[in-house]
Structure formats: structure tokens, C-alpha cells
Symmetry: none
Subunit: 423 residues, 2 copies
């Protein structure tokens, strides 16, 4: 990728810097630019401070061909993106007579005189190009600063998105052409620690590798992205396809999807497609497995009911776990996990039943059964299996999330073996 195709994104607003809200605009802009082959090198979040904004605009525009700013275009005095852009371009602000007339007409239509402060929205840096706002009162603009282009978009996501799609991206595509030779593909994996993945991925993960590999982990679920670069689009696609084929072969057991990042939704799809009825019997996860399964739309076709059996008595009364079994092995044991799964399958009539029992902490741990010990049980068409997890002391919430995702993965693997993929 040439230097000229690198971009930067700036989000403007005191409310962002205070942490009162989160900047989602920048990520959205980055995703759309990537589709044009333009790589974003940094996001910057700044407050409504004219001096700091002007300095940042000038610096970013001298290093990037494309700088996109969102926010700070409102009518009130704390919105200073216009002034800062003019300062950075070393030009005055000028009033756009057409925009001013439109603003006045808008207020007239409401039967009210336009507040004086609104006239500020008709101003933009001299020599800049207007981008109309079909969704609000603040127009945007493109200004030329230090050899780069600064595009200023409104902050409200709906207005930003509409101006980006209808005004800015078409202009960038016309002016800069589509970037050649950058393609990417994502894979979603479960049942593998990030470090174990790295060991098996080996030199595919090196920084200089092409395709370049990135991986992020979320409670045992990995997102792996491969990005290939070449002189031509065709060259990049060939590079990517070759590595993807190797990747699919090496991680066949662990890949649960190439399009659905959420394990629970991918599993829901498998359950629905295969007509696998399913139930849950949860102790330490306390409803979390049921909640994840029922995140999948339409899951009621296969998920009819589940139990949260937090106490020993509930395990006995609802799932028919033998009292002696709990006495002999303790509630956190493979034996009880197996009996919970078998009992839930029996009581519900479902083909698959997932059970969890463990020590989520912070209290309740012992030397032999420490916080982080979790037993999973799975009954599938009458066959019962269990799995022991020994999770690090990562806190109650995280232990419960790891355990719930591991339970879903236990079921996914069993279904994969029961009905191997034929594609």
C-alpha cells in the first residue's frame, strides 16, 4: 500500500473524551474505507478545543492523503471543527449563501425565526467543498490542508453514515480510484487457547508474513483475520486463497464459522439445521448457557426448556441426580455433571442436554476443588460425556463466561462428529 493511500480518522467531542459515550463512527469509517482498499493508520479522539484540533488537522493532513473528522459541526459555540479546519488551512471562514437560505427556510417552515447561533452552520473554510446533509442541519465539507484532504462529517451516527455513503465515499472513489491488491478473510475458532493457537500457527503469525495474520480472543473464542497484499487484486486473492486452504486444513476441528463471529449463533444455526432438540441444566453458570443459546433467533423450534439447579436439592428434585452421588463425589464432580445432563435429557425429552457445575468464586473454593474448577456434562442421544475445566482465577464473571462458551463448544464438537461436514 502506498503512503498516499493511508488515512486517519478523528472523532471530535468533549463527551467522548470524558467517557460519556463511545466513538463508534471511526470504526465504521475504517470498515468502509477498507472496502475501497484504503488502510486507516490511526484514530484520534479530541475534545472541542480549537487550538488542539487545528494542530492535529495540520499534522495528520501532512502525513495522510485522507483525513476524516466527525463531530463538532453543531450550532452551538462549543462546536469548533469549522474554525479549527480554517486555522489549519490558513484561510478565513466564509458564509455559504445557499446554505444560509436553506437554514432560514427550514426554520420558517416551523414558523419560528432562526436562532442566531444556527447561522454558524452555513460557514466553512474558504476554498472548501460543501457536502450537503440530507439528515440534519449541519453540512459537511472537504478542505485542503498541507497536501492532504480533510473531510468534516457530522457526529450523530445516522447523519454521518448518510453523508459518508452518499457524498464522501463516491468522491473518494472517483478521485482516488479503488485500491488494488488488498484482500482479507476471517475465521472464527473455539476450543483453543490463544497461545496454543499461536504455537500451531507458527510462522504464519510473523509480523512480516503475507498474508498477515491477526488474532483476538474473547472467552475462548478466537477471531483470526488474514490480509494479503500484492501489486494486483488478482495476486492478493491468489496469495490469500492459498493460505486460507492451508488454514482450513490445519484448524478443521476448531473453525466453527467463516462468517458468524458468535459461537452461540453458529451453534444455534447447526442445531436448527440438524433439528437437534436441546436443553440445559446449569449450576455455576446460573442461566448463562440458556441465555446464550436463546440469543439465536428462532431457537424455540429446538430449545423448549432448561433448568437452573443452583442448590443440591434442585439437582435431586428437578433432574433426578441421586442424593448419594452428590454425597460421594460432591456437587462439583464429573459424576454429578453427567447425572445432571442425563437427567435433563430425560426430563425434557431433548436429544442433547448440556450441564455445568463448578466453583465460580470468589468464595467456595477448597484445596481439591479450587475456584475455577468446572465440570461440564453432555448427553447426546443417550451417550454421556464430561469435561473438566481448570480455569485461571480470572474473576467470577469471566470464569462463568469461559465455562459457558466451553459448554457450547463441547456440544458443537459432538455435533460435528455426529454429522461430519461434507463440504
Amino acid at each position: 500500500m502506498s503512503e498516499a493511500r493511508r488515512a486517519a480518522v478523528v472523532a471530535v467531542g468533549d463527551e467522548l473524551l470524558r467517557g460519556d459515550c463511545v466513538d463508534s463512527n471511526s470504526g465504521e469509517i475504517a470498515r468502509r474505507l477498507a472496502q475501497l482498499g484504503i488502510e486507516v493508520e490511526q484514530f484520534l479522539v479530541l475534545g472541542d478545543d480549537r487550538r488542539l484540533l487545528a494542530k492535529a488537522f495540520a499534522e495528520l493532513c501532512s502525513a495522510h492523503a485522507i483525513v476524516i473528522a466527525t463531530g463538532g459541526l453543531g450550532p452551538t459555540l462549543d462546536d469548533v471543527t469549522r474554525e479549527a479546519a480554517a486555522d489549519a488551512a490558513r484561510v478565513p471562514l466564509e458564509t455559504d449563501a445557499t446554505v444560509l437560505a436553506e437554514l432560514e427556510a427550514r426554520w420558517q417552515a416551523r414558523g419560528q425565526p432562526m436562532p442566531a447561533s444556527n447561522a454558524r452552520q452555513a460557514q466553512r473554510p474558504a476554498g472548501s467543498q460543501l457536502m450537503p446533509n440530507a439528515r440534519g442541519t449541519a453540512p459537511g465539507f472537504r478542505a485542503w490542508i498541507e497536501g492532504g484532504m480533510l473531510a468534516a462529517l457530522p457526529g450523530p451516527p445516522g447523519e454521518m453514515r448518510h453523508m459518508l455513503e452518499s457524498e464522501l465515499l463516491p468522491w473518494i472513489e472517483r478521485t482516488c480510484g479503488r485500491g488494488e491488491g488488498l484482500v482479507s478473510q476471517s475465521f472464527f475458532l473455539a476450543g483453543l487457547a490463544e497461545s496454543a493457537f499461536a504455537d500451531r500457527a507458527g510462522d504464519w503469525m510473523e509480523r512480516g508474513a503475507n498474508p498477515r495474520m491477526g488474532v483476538t480472543a474473547h472467552f475462548g473464542v478466537l477471531r483470526v483475520t488474514l490480509r494479503a497484499k500484492a501489486e494486483t487484486q488478482r495476486g492478493a486473492s491468489d496469495l490469500l486463497a492459498a493460505r486460507c486452504a492451508e488454514f482450513r486444513a490445519r484448524f478443521a476441528a476448531e473453525i466453527f464459522s467463516e462468517d458468524e463471529p458468535r459461537l452461540e449463533l453458529a451453534l444455534g444455526r447447526t442445531l436448527l439445521e440438524g433439528g437437534w432438540s436441546v436443553t440445559t441444566a446449569e449450576s455455576c453458570t446460573g442461566g448463562l448457557v440458556a441465555r446464550l443459546l436463546t440469543d439465536a433467533p428462532g431457537i424455540s423450534a429446538v430449545y423448549r426448556e432448561g433448568w437452573v439447579t443452583y442448590s443440591d436439592e434442585a439437582k435431586v428434585a428437578r433432574l433426578g441426580v441421586p442424593r448419594e452421588l452428590i454425597a460421594a463425589h460432591g456437587a462439583v464432580s464429573g459424576e454429578v455433571a453427567a447425572a445432571m445432563a442425563a437427567g435433563a435429557a430425560r426430563a425434557s425429552g431433548a436429544r442433547a442436554a448440556l450441564a455445568t457445575t463448578g466453583v465460580a468464586g470468589p468464595g467456595g473454593g477448597t484445596a481439591t476443588k479450587p475456584v475455577g474448577l468446572v465440570w461440564l456434562g453432555l448427553a447426546l442421544d443417550g451417550a454421556v460425556q464430561t469435561r473438566e475445566l481448570r480455569l485461571a482465577q480470572v474473576g467470577r464473571d469471566s470464569i462463568r463466561l469461559y465455562a459457558a462458551y466451553a459448554a457450547l463448544e463441547l456440544l458443537r464438537r459432538a455435533l460435528q462428529r455426529a454429522a461430519p461436514r461434507t463440504d
Copy 2:
């Protein structure tokens, strides 16, 4: 605010720059620093690029006394925050023998050899100070660069938050002292829309107000922060105390906590303190209410069991809901919500029972029972009440979250009335 008390926050990760996920860490760090009187001047988001990170760390540390980075501390080769910090400080990386031994012990406890890549997590820039990670495997560090301090924290929010609270903020407070004349107080409210709150808060919310008020909403739970500024700490405290007293009076019914942001944990505390046994019977929320209740440590003393009764048959078989009631009113009705709550209380013997039934979508809506319609039921010591929610079409996940928090709030209000606060 002196220049020396200005800070910058950096979020590191290709996944952020690609727009695959949103950086929520930086805002959280800014909110906590503000409570120490430290103002954040910018957030920067950068990819896993050693050269760009080293350059940014050096530049930011020369302009700010405090620079806090999150992310890029994982075991894989694409995590390069350690290397970049060492480059910026112009020192080599060194291996911490204690950390390495701990990492090896952790893997040994799981009965597995440590993957070679994990050893990278024991490295940090020579001369830096270790910050242990109680929630994960990646320790953080404080390094001195160009006259500023760079603190590197892990990226996963749970790990980041714990290290921030237990390691970094206490150090900053000891080292830098508290800013004078800036004090703040938070309140946590439920059962009030953000706009309804704004109407009732009136001119307290104006931008120039002192104390200044900020509010953020999360599925019906509001966090309101009041920040007072004055020449002296005493002056600011007086201003704040006066407004807090008015605030407590105006929002007495809605405030559920002044220290616990999570409604489920505050409610768990109330249930445990009052010895209120509780159960759940969920249809549309599918285990989410149970999961939230069991997020509270020690809740097993009052929460023994719960049901996910997704199908009509399960409502009949497990909760004793009369089949005719479902036929007459439909499963999504106040009548069925009431019968579910009463049935769950009866079956479990708990004093309190929460029930949910609704249309979470995307399918299943009708003209009379649209997506977003949810009925809540509560049985408390034999008295049953119901509440109807008509939620906007904000998506399946959000509808379920709003419904679950509204159910918890229904119980909290009922307990508040049953045992009014005497303080």
C-alpha cells in the same frame, strides 16, 4: 489544571482500527482519571505496529505526564506493545523470572506444558515497574519515557479494569497527589428513561452548571455523575454536598446505589441482607434474569433454582400455568406472566419469584402483540403483580436486556416498599 496533570490514552489493536470492535477502555480510564482531577487531552487508537507505537509513545510521553496504553500484551507475535515501549524508552526487554515461574506454574496446574509463546508475557522494558494481573496472564508495567510515565494495561476490559483500580490508580494518587478543588459523586438509577431523567433534572444538566452533571444510560440503568469545581477542595466539596442532598431527595425512588453500578449486584446485596429467597421463571429472556441474579457472589444462600420455560408445555408442566389461560390470553400476556410467577414461587418455595414472557423478535410479532411487547410477573410473599413493557424495535439482544433489567427493577422497587430504607 496544570500542564503536568494532562494525560493521554492509547488503545492498541488491529481489530480496533479495522472497526471489528469498539474501544471502550479509553473512556473508562478517562472517567476514573477525572475523579483524581486529571484531565485526558486525547485518545489515540493504533494498530499492532511496533514502529508507529514506539513513535507515538515517545511523542505522547514528551507532552504528557501520564500516558496509559491498553492492549497488545498478549502472548502472540502480533502483540508488540512491550517491544514498542522498550524502543521508545531506548532500553532492551528483559525477562522477569518471577512472572515466568508463575506462568509456568499456572500451566502446570492445568496439567499442560506452557506453550513457548507464553514466555513473551514475562518480558518488559528494562527499568520498568511490574503491575501484576490478577485476572489474566498478561502483566502490565509502568515505564519512563521522555520524562513521562507510560502505563501498559491489558486490553480485555475485565483485566484492564482490575489492574487500573488495584495497581495503577493507587500509584498515581500516591505519586501525583489528588487534584485540588475538583470532586465528584456518582449515582446509579433504574426505572427511568434518560429523557425523563433529563426533564426532571432540569437546569442541573446545563453545560455551565457547577456541579456539572453527566449521564449515561445502559439498558434502563443510568449512571449520573456530578462534578464540582472550586478554588479549594473544601469549596468544591460543599458545592457537591448541597447538590447531592437535593439529588437524593428528587430521585429517592430511582436511586438504587451510590457505589454499585450494576443493578443485579445491588439487588443481590438487598436480597442477601434481607434474607429474601428468590426464583425465576423465564420465557423471552431465556435465562438472562437468572444469569444476572447469579452474577452476585454468594447468591446461592437465597437463589436455589430457576426455570427457563420457553415452550407453552414447559410453562404448564414445570410451573403449573393452566393450559386454558394460555389458550385464552396467549403466552405473552399479563395473566400468564402472573401465573408463571405464582407457579415458580409455589414450586420452589421462594418468597419472591420473577417471570418474563414476551416477543423478543425478530420474528413472532403480530399487530396486537408486536416485537418488543414483554410482560413481567412478580410474586412476593403471595401477592402477585405484573408490568407491561412496550420496548422499541432495538433488536433481539437489546430487547432481552431491557426486559431482564426491568424485571430486576420490578423486584427492587417491591422490596424497597416492603422494607423502606431507614437511613
